[in-house]
């Protein structure tokens, strides 16, 4: 799960309080511990999603590229924009080095929900009720491949 997020980046979805969805790419992602993901966003990406998150901090994201089918998960949480501090400094430096991104802000998403989105009988199954060991075993049983390098 972590490897897919960090190798492929993610599609980030936010919505206005009235329910109008917006999407931007989180091209550089860094998992922070077990429950947070930091995305380095450029100025143009921030301009689209920051006004939405200012009114409604809820974020849903899925893994980009092949990860959309090979890493069939939906992650949900709340987002906060960082423009200074250790996480901002580390993530923006790595995003510049690895992806050439001029980071305007880091979107830190604190995860609260996790769902399986694999087509079939498990589609929509909520997974965050599992303890980490149980979830790891569940994942290993179903997914045999992980990306080998950043795209």
């Amino acid at each position: 799960m972590k490897a897919w997020i960090e190798a492929m980046g993610c599609h980030l979805c936010a919505a206005t309080p009235e329910g109008v969805p917006y999407v931007v790419l989180g091209r550089y992602a860094a998992v922070q511990g077990d429950g947070e993901v930091a995305f380095a966003l450029a100025e143009d990406e921030v301009k689209v999603i920051e006004p939405v998150l200012a009114k409604n901090p809820r974020v849903a994201f899925g893994v980009s590229r092949q990860g959309g089918i090979r890493a069939a998960y939906q992650f949900k949480g709340t987002g906060e924009f960082l423009r200074s501090g250790l996480v901002f400094e580390v993530v923006s430096a790595r995003a510049k080095e690895e992806k050439g991104i001029d980071t305007a802000a880091v979107l830190l998403v604190r995860l609260t929900e996790l769902y399986c989105t694999k087509p079939g009988y498990e589609a929509g199954q909520r997974l965050d009720g599992m303890v980490p060991e149980e979830l790891n075993a569940w994942e290993r049983q179903r997914w045999k491949d992980v990306p080998r390098k950043r795209d």
Partner: protein
């Protein structure tokens, strides 16, 4: 009124025909976002995106209470397919009135052509370890696209339709 480009129509097809895996983004009425990948996708007329309703749960519930959706390309991204299409969606299920109209799209026409999508465009390109064992289609989501913006790095947010 929008009109898809040739490149957009080529991208908004099933992956096995050179199209794309897409993300369908919906929201509850009070702004709880949801994002789910979809394989069965096509265009209809010049401004409609069609998506099979096969395993939709939260997506379906959201569309029933809030028609605002966004559709974007999940994979492949590196062929100039940097678009987010925004518009209003309905899930035309079996049992809809035959003359139901969604911004010019007729329910009977949609279900006649796309109601048995797995047979028409079987998922032959999907690896056997992740292909679904049995496809049960309950309808077709019709997205009436009203605008589109770019998510190309450096151009995110720029209107393309």
């Amino acid at each position: 009124m929008v009109k898809f480009t040739k490149e957009m129509k080529e991208a908004l097809r099933v992956p096995g025909k050179g199209g794309s895996l897409i993300y369908l983004c919906t929201s509850s009425r009070d702004g709880n976002p949801n994002i789910a990948a979809m394989r069965f996708v096509a265009t209809h007329m010049d401004d409609k995106i069609l998506i099979a309703d096969m395993f939709l749960l939260k997506t379906k519930a959201n569309i029933k209470e809030n028609p605002n959706v966004a559709v974007t390309i999940c994979h492949p991204l590196d062929e100039g397919r940097w678009w987010v299409f925004r518009g209003k969606a309905v899930d035309i299920e079996y049992g809809f009135p035959r003359d139901f109209d969604w911004y010019g799209a007729n329910a009977t026409d949609i279900l006649n052509e796309w109601g048995n999508w797995n047979k028409a465009e079987p998922p032959d390109e999907v690896p056997p370890d992740i292909v679904f064992p049995k496809a049960v289609q309950r309808g077709v989501v019709v997205v009436h696209v009203e605008e589109a913006y770019s998510i190309e790095p450096g151009h995110t947010g720029e209107r393309v339709l």
